[in-house]
């Protein structure tokens, strides 16, 4: 413990002088970076719009109430589509993530080159947002729910596979060894030694990702990939604010329900 040694009364301090200075230096650099970034963003901002924003917000809020409840009739189909995009996308993702996770885990991968490839798939899938995946897929296979399902699927592979391969690396090796001692082949070792240990984690990951995907699939419609985002985009473009507020309420409700379901299911599994 750093103590400032004066003659009669030692004074307690939290850090040594050197540590104090290096922390101070790190703060200085950090603050300088932030201030510099702020200046650059501020240069690109029209401050008139920003100062005007509270008035705009009040105006928009007044136009949003009351929500146009009768529009709900046209929203059931998009909500159903949104849920389907999330669910089918998650199914697609876990079907692809499962083998990739085994290829990426250090203790089950066949060799280093395959592992590097699997890790590359995981990183690229994770780095690209589902909206960008949707943008790409809409350009390639055309707008619609199918593009949304694929976008959610591709985006979720990385997430599911990453969590899953970390779980595989943390399994108890003794159980696998015990299975091996019975004379099991490589495939049997995976099925009876590894899979039962990761199955609960796997189920938890899937439900967790499903919950995230519900949230993400609400916006895919903005680029034309199906779901409630299409209605949101259309309503905003036509300045139909009472419809916008209803859509926001519906999104809020869907997300809350999915979060509740996901929490319940995960609680039941673990």
């Amino acid at each position: 413990m750093p103590v400032l040694g004066t003659e009669e009364t030692p004074v307690w301090r939290r850090r040594t002088t050197a540590a104090q200075w290096s922390i101070w230096g790190a703060w200085l650099i950090g603050v300088a970076i932030v201030v510099y970034c702020w200046k650059l963003v501020s240069d690109k901002t029209v401050w008139f719009f920003v100062t005007d924003a509270p008035r705009q917000a009040a105006d928009m809020a007044s136009r949003m109430v009351p929500p146009k409840w009768s529009y709900m009739d046209k929203l059931w189909q998009p909500v159903w589509d949104t849920i389907n995009i999330a669910t089918l996308g998650t199914l697609l993702a876990i079907a692809m993530a499962f083998p990739i996770a085994f290829l990426a885990a250090r203790n089950t991968t066949p060799n280093g080159a395959v592992r590097a490839f699997a890790l590359f798939v995981i990183v690229s899938s994770r780095s690209i947002n589902s909206l960008i995946w949707a943008l790409m897929l809409v350009a390639i296979i055309g707008p619609g729910v199918f593009a949304g399902v694929l976008a959610i699927g591709f985006r979720s592979i990385g997430f599911c596979a990453k969590l899953l391969y970390e779980a595989i690396e943390e399994i108890d090796a003794k159980q696998v060894e015990a299975i091996e001692a019975t004379g099991a082949s490589g495939g049997q070792k995976l099925i009876y030694g590894v899979v039962p240990q990761i199955l609960p984690t796997f189920a938890g990951i899937s439900v967790f990702r499903w919950d995230i995907n519900i949230r993400e699939s609400t916006v895919l419609g903005l680029v034309g990939a199906g779901g409630i985002g299409i209605q949101l985009d259309a309503s905003i473009s036509t300045l139909a604010w009472t419809q916008v507020s209803l859509i926001l309420i519906v999104i809020l409700a869907t997300v809350i329900v999915s979060e509740w379901v996901s929490a319940r299911v995960r609680h039941a599994i673990i």
Binding site: W38, Q56, M60, N129, V145, F146
Partner: protein
């Protein structure tokens, strides 16, 4: 004797199922089958359009070998830099806002009304995806990085404050009590008892959030919130797949660097 015991034990073994209750298991399988058939039935895939797009998809994949960094280089650099500034200040501002909210949302620190208020703030900012927040920020504050900055900051609060609050609730009460016993005031108590306990994890999460914000900054541009997203959208709309591929490669590389450095930083902090 040995004959009878050998016979009374089953000679074959079956793997126990994940879900113990047989009725529940079959109900789940049955429900899943019905849901899948209904969902796939309503999906309405235009296979003709999909088939038509496949050559374009192939063109897109070949565009990655090699991606075209040159012809749109200036706007790519502009977009990426804008994304980075936006990410940095949004992360810093979001975390600065999260600290009071997170302290207020920890049950062992705050009184009931403060706790409920802070939890409501977290729930609201967590529900809506960044893109929806960005749409409204663009409506209110005009096009440009300021809107993206606001959207990302709000989303950061929902994420960071929640995890901070949970971390504080899980802390070791012994240390907190020890600091209290020295007669520390509230701020001293937070600074010396709580902050050192949550700091290592929080620094790791800050870098993780920086990473998420950078990825999200690529999509807020699609709705006009500044950053690389606008460039990417233009590239897709013009079917300039080789430029789009270049942007995606840059995004992936930056995310990989951030991920690597976050792992490094976390090791260094702990």
């Amino acid at each position: 004797m040995s004959e009878t015991t050998a016979n009374s034990y089953p000679r074959t073994w079956k793997k126990p199922p994940l879900i113990g209750n047989r009725l529940l298991r079959w109900a789940l399988w049955f429900g899943a089958a019905i849901y899948l058939s209904v969902a796939l039935g309503t999906m309405d895939i235009n296979w003709g359009r999909v088939a038509e797009g496949l050559p374009r998809g192939q063109k897109f994949i070949t565009a990655f070998f090699p991606p075209d960094f040159v012809s749109r280089w200036d706007s790519i650099v502009d977009g990426i830099l804008e994304s980075i500034w936006m990410t940095v200040i949004a992360t810093v501002a979001g975390i600065a806002l999260s600290v009071p909210v997170g302290l207020g949302a920890a049950r062992n620190l705050a009184s009931m009304p403060v706790y409920l208020f802070c939890r409501a703030v977290i729930a609201l900012s967590r529900t809506f995806p960044e893109v929806i927040l960005a749409i409204f920020a663009v409506k209110l504050f005009g096009f440009g990085p300021f809107a993206g900055f606001l959207a990302l900051s709000i989303a950061t609060v929902g994420f960071y404050a929640k995890l901070l609050a949970e971390d504080i609730e899980d802390m070791d009460p012994g240390q907190a009590e020890a600091i209290k016993a020295t007669g520390a005031g509230w701020f001293q108590w937070v600074n010396y008892a709580i902050q050192p306990q949550v700091m290592p994890r929080m620094i790791g999460l800050a870098v993780y959030r920086l990473d998420i914000n950078f990825r999200e900054s690529a999509v807020v541009g699609i709705v006009g919130g500044g950053g690389i997203g606008a460039t990417l959208l233009t590239a897709f709309d013009r079917y300039e797949f080789d430029s789009a591929a270049a942007i995606l490669v840059i995004i992936i590389v930056i995310v990989m660097v951030l991920e690597y450095s976050s792992g490094f930083l976390r090791k260094w902090v702990q």
